[in-house]
């Protein structure tokens, strides 16, 4: 069963606002010498005046000696940097929370990452389930972003989109500087993800789970139900579950999440858990990635 994402007419507007916010944030951070999305291997981009309160270790002392005015160095990534987004489009991503599927939010997050890539002057390639790649140039303008949006929407994301298979795709073998793994990770092992880690490469793992997947005791059994028949979205298999089973599931899920966090921390990977719901927007996810609030 093919699942579809839909972007409403406000999506471009939201992307525009996000880009503006990111741009302002980048300016503030670069002014303060903070380039989170830069990091080792960035190219020197220029100087800016030092602001009172900034860390004095970021001062360019040569400039201070030469001009008797404090300046900080500003870096940016290499122009040839590529970002890859591996999106899990299997049927399990069709699970909804508050009538919003995980895939919908994941796809919107991909758009947000595309905007982030454009601001970071990186080329982004979305690797879809059928192996096709949807690319956004680092110099993409709004029109190109809209085109990317439309292609993402029209992409035939279907049940063959297992993340595991995507990890070995050509786009990953081309050694992008930053890889985003987005999905529910139900069939992915930490070893497979850690195998992608490499020097100079940022690995971001975003696990999208519906509220029912996180706290089924509250979602399914709060109303007093004794038994719930669960249906696997991918295989169609059914399984009766009781409250005791749900409690055991939550315990096992918590353990699984702890494992992911520990492994990612150990391998210096970024791990984020996204609870899909009506209150969660892709802007929240992007904000979480960039590590700052909205401007």
């Amino acid at each position: 069963m093919a699942v579809r994402v839909r972007f409403d007419a406000r999506m471009m507007g939201r992307l525009g606002r996000l880009i503006g916010r990111l741009r302002a944030l980048r300016s503030r951070r670069e002014g303060r010498g903070i380039t989170r999305w830069g990091g080792a291997g960035d190219a020197f981009a220029g100087h800016r005046p030092w602001q009172p309160g900034e860390d004095a270790r970021h001062l360019d002392w040569n400039m201070l000696a030469r001009h008797d005015q404090p300046f900080v160095r500003v870096f940016e990534r290499e122009a040839a940097e590529r970002w890859a987004v591996l999106l899990d489009v299997s049927d399990s991503m069709d699970m909804a929370s508050d009538e919003r599927s995980k895939l919908q939010l994941a796809a919107e997050t991909v758009l947000g990452i595309a905007a982030l890539a454009v601001e970071a002057r990186a080329t982004l390639v979305l690797v879809a389930s059928d192996g096709r790649q949807i690319e956004v140039a680092r110099t993409a303008d709004q029109a190109e972003l809209m085109h990317f949006l439309a292609r993402t929407e029209a992409c035939d994301v279907g049940l063959d989109g297992a993340l595991g298979a995507l990890l070995a795709s050509a786009s990953v073998r081309e050694r992008p500087g930053r890889v985003f793994i987005i999905g529910d990770l139900d069939e992915l092992h930490t070893d497979e993800v850690c195998a992608l880690a490499a020097p100079g490469r940022d690995l971001v793992v975003l696990r999208f789970l519906a509220r029912a997947e996180l706290v089924p005791t509250e979602v399914f059994f709060a109303g007093g139900a004794r038994v719930v028949e669960l249906e696997d979205l991918e295989s169609g298999a059914q399984l009766p579950a009781t409250l005791a089973t749900a409690r055991a599931y939550e315990r096992l899920l918590g353990h699984d999440l702890d494992v992911w966090r520990r492994v990612c921390t150990r391998h210096k990977l970024h791990f984020g858990l996204v609870e899909v719901g009506s209150d969660t927007t892709f802007e929240d996810v992007i904000d979480g990635l960039v590590g700052g609030g909205r401007a």
Partner: protein, 423 residues
């Protein structure tokens, strides 16, 4: 019937389709909701951890309670009763006793006493699984019509089945009312004054002829062919006929003593005969040969022998039986005989021993008089057989009556339904 439980209205069980339909409907309605889930891998791991092997699709308690309640309502409508196992019943035969027991059922036939015993046995054969007891007949006290009276002889008693002789020797039963309850079977030998209300009644057929049918104190029950009436003040009497029974004769004095003991009269020749029939005719031979020597014989009994003069007529009336305890010594023929209502003797004179009458003589002759007097005479030729009547046997009450359970089941159903209401 299910293990002691019987249902008076079994067709109501067709309504059991209602609770079954409710259960199916409830199961369909309350089927567990289907929730689509991303991946069931962790759920399977959780179930394995809990050891849950079977799918828990059981109905909730409220639904089951409602199903049980509906089932109880149906069961209550079917009229359940708890039928206890029937315990062995005990019947009590209450036999009539008294003089009427000696009466013949038919001419020359068995006595009423024997007939009711046979009827009781026939009744018992109809209920082979039941037990039977005999109501006490009561003691019979034989009084000695002699100066040495005081010795008491008990005939019969409370234990076991009585014999016809016991029935005829015993006083007439006057405690029928005490035995008027289910499980008792009345077998009277004489017409009853009251009909049983709870007991069963078995009346054997007997030849009914107008005449005295029973004696009660100074009164006599007299059946005139249409109805039985009590003849009060009609003191039973003995009719002494013949020289042997003259008032001054030895046998006459014995008869007077017996009558006095029993409250009877002795009527002799020349006296007006009372109404009704005598209890017994004491008949003696009159006359005989003039050869006194030829007519001299000896009468003997247990421990006694007396000289007596016989009339020599021999035999006596037809149907006589020998009198126990009195025999003619060294001579053939019957010197003393009896039948109900008649004591005949060929003796015309008894010589009183100089040493006094032996007690055995008194006992033998008084017993013979009383035996002949126990059966009132039935002299009339016209006879009409009484129709044997057997009342409906009212069986003894079962130890426990069938107990209806419908109300209890219905109440339990209400309690269960109230328990299913949400608080």
């Amino acid at each position: 019937m299910i293990a002691g439980l019987v249902f008076r209205e079994p067709l109501w069980w067709l309504a059991a389709l209602v609770p079954i339909a409710y259960l199916l409907f409830a199961h369909a309605l309350h089927k567990a909701p289907i929730e689509r889930f991303g991946s069931l891998a962790l759920w399977r791991e959780a179930r394995d951890e809990l050891g849950e092997t079977a799918a828990k699709r059981a109905l909730d308690g409220r639904t089951l309670l409602r199903f049980v309640a509906l089932g109880l309502v149906v069961a209550a409508m079917a009229g359940p009763e708890w039928a206890t196992a029937k315990a062995q019943r005990t019947w009590t035969f209450v036999l009539g006793s008294g003089l009427a027991a000696e009466l013949a059922v038919a001419d020359g036939g068995e006595s009423r006493g024997a007939a009711v015993l046979a009827a009781a046995r026939a009744f018992a054969e109809r209920y082979p699984d039941d037990r039977f007891a005999w109501a006490p007949v009561g003691p019979y006290v034989a009084r000695r019509a002699s100066a040495q009276a005081g010795e008491v002889v008990l005939v019969g008693g409370a234990a076991g089945a009585p014999s016809p002789e016991v029935l005829s020797a015993a006083p007439e039963r006057d405690d029928w009312g005490a035995w008027d309850r289910a499980g008792c079977v009345w077998l009277p030998v004489a017409p009853l004054e009251t009909e049983p209300r709870a007991a069963a009644l078995v009346q054997v057929a007997w030849a009914a002829a107008p005449g005295a049918v029973a004696v009660r104190g100074d009164a006599r029950l007299w059946w005139d062919g249409a109805a039985t009436r009590t003849v009060p003040g009609a003191r039973p009497w003995l009719w002494a006929r013949g020289p042997a029974w003259a008032a001054d004769a030895l046998l006459g004095r014995v008869a007077d003593a017996v009558a006095a003991t029993n409250g009877w009269r002795v009527v002799r020749a020349g006296e007006a005969l009372p109404e009704g029939e005598p209890l017994v005719v004491l008949m003696g031979t009159a006359g005989g040969t003039d050869d006194l020597a030829a007519r001299r014989h000896e009468l003997a009994g247990a421990g006694w022998t007396v000289a007596a003069r016989l009339g020599g007529v021999g035999g006596g009336p037809a149907g006589l039986r020998p009198v126990e305890g009195v025999r003619l010594v060294a001579a053939p023929g019957l010197a003393v005989g009896w039948r109900p209502g008649l004591l005949w003797t060929d003796v015309t004179w008894v010589e009183e021993p100089s040493a006094g009458l032996p007690p055995g003589f008194i006992v033998a002759w008084s017993a013979a008089i009383e035996r002949a007097a126990r059966a009132p005479s039935v002299p009339l030729a016209a006879r009409r057989a009484a129709v044997a009547r057997q009342g409906a046997a009212r069986a003894p009450a079962a130890p426990v009556d069938p107990r209806p359970l419908g109300a209890e089941l219905a109440a339990l159903a209400v309690v269960l339904l109230l328990g299913t209401l949400k608080r």
